[in-house]
Symmetry: none
Subunit: 202 residues, 2 copies
DNA sequence: CATATAAATTTCCGATAGGAAAAGTATTTT
DNA sequence: AAAATACTTTTCCTATCGGAAATTTATATG
């Protein structure tokens, strides 16, 4: 009956229809019945049924409770169902089998260059002493980034922040969109293990 | 009038009142008027006014449009301020400041336990020798997993696969939904750096 | 200070959310 | 296959959402 309605809110990647579909998908994947989710969320059975068939647009608080009942984060219900790398697969990164990637300031070793569609990009980095590096500008890209100091001391410069020094065994987590650069804080090369989330292909 | 209502949905950190407050806060911080947000979101002025004063619980699609109008991600409106991994932020994990998490077989140190909403979960793990571990069943959960051997040798058992031994400096990437377990392959404890993608809480 | 302009609130009311319970549709048991 | 059980959809109805426009409150201008 309200098919005109259904189309009009086709904003980003989460139209009513898509979210509705996603809710049902998540529930089924978890092997839950509407009744169970109803109990756990405190919502009426009929309400959930209607939401899943896109017959109703829940108020945001109900939506929040629904996420609870499903055992997922609210934001997950808004995400388009993503690409996931091949189900059930695994891959090893053996010493000496890495794919080296040399830039002016960094030497990276991609650990799983052949694994496509994965949601994390792990790599080993070798950092030269700060003085020997040449920086035009800070690096910035989509996603989040985490790195752990394997050897040496590392100085991190984040755009608009004071430089930070990380000792061996320490780590940092940040938004990659903020301009950033690292370097060894000592005289010798430092070594880090860095993991980025999937970033825009380039 | 509906004060009983207001209290009952005090689940996590996002009651109606809190979200309402957060909306106004974000709008003001961006220097936007209700009218502007109304135009950009396509919502009525009165609607936004009511939402901000907690006189109304918007349906999730309106809520989504409101987020658009404000220029933020929907999930941000659901997060209690401060808990979220805010755009442009960063966090350090200093030695000795980790949150230890002991299970029968593993000892984990969550590196950024306070950072919520991040898309990776980095942790340090200490693995006992294989013989000393008691396994009922393989562990399995949503998401992807990556770990790197910091010290010692680690034996990895993936469901339906032959055991694999990783030397120091080697790593593995796999689908966490496949049953898995690790242990030290030597006589002494091994040490790993493990990163999971966001998984269901349990 | 009065008036104009902008922003926020309140009112009014048709449209819709959403619960309780009945009805319908699998799925399993005897 | 009939009965029982489990799951989902439909119905009915009240409370509430949410838009247009009027009213009130804040801010600026002559």
């Amino acid at each position: 009956m309200s098919e005109i309605e259904a189309e009009k809110s086709s904003e980003e990647g989460n139209s009513r229809a898509q979210v509705a579909e996603r809710v049902r998908e998540i529930r089924r994947k978890k092997g839950l019945t509407i009744k169970v989710v109803a109990t756990r969320s405190g919502l009426a059975i009929s309400t959930i049924s209607k939401i899943e068939r896109n017959l109703m647009a829940p108020t945001y608080d109900r939506f929040s409770r629904l996420a609870d009942g499903l055992g997922v984060d609210v934001s997950e219900l808004f995400m388009a169902k993503g690409e996931q790398f091949l189900p059930g697969e695994f891959s090893l990164a053996r010493t000496g089998e890495h794919s080296f990637h040399q830039t002016e300031n960094y030497t990276y070793e991609m650990l799983f260059p052949h694994l496509r569609g994965k949601s994390m990009i792990p790599m080993l980095g070798t950092l030269k002493p700060f003085e020997k590096m040449r920086f035009d500008r800070l690096v910035s890209h989509e996603g989040e980034e985490f790195f752990f100091v394997l050897k040496g001391r590392v100085v991190v410069q984040l755009e608009g922040k004071d430089p930070v020094v990380l000792e061996t065994g320490e780590s940092i987590y940040f938004d990659s969109r903020r301009g950033h650069l690292y370097a060894s804080a000592g005289d010798e090369d430092a070594r880090i293990l860095c993991v980025c989330t999937k970033m825009s292909p380039d």
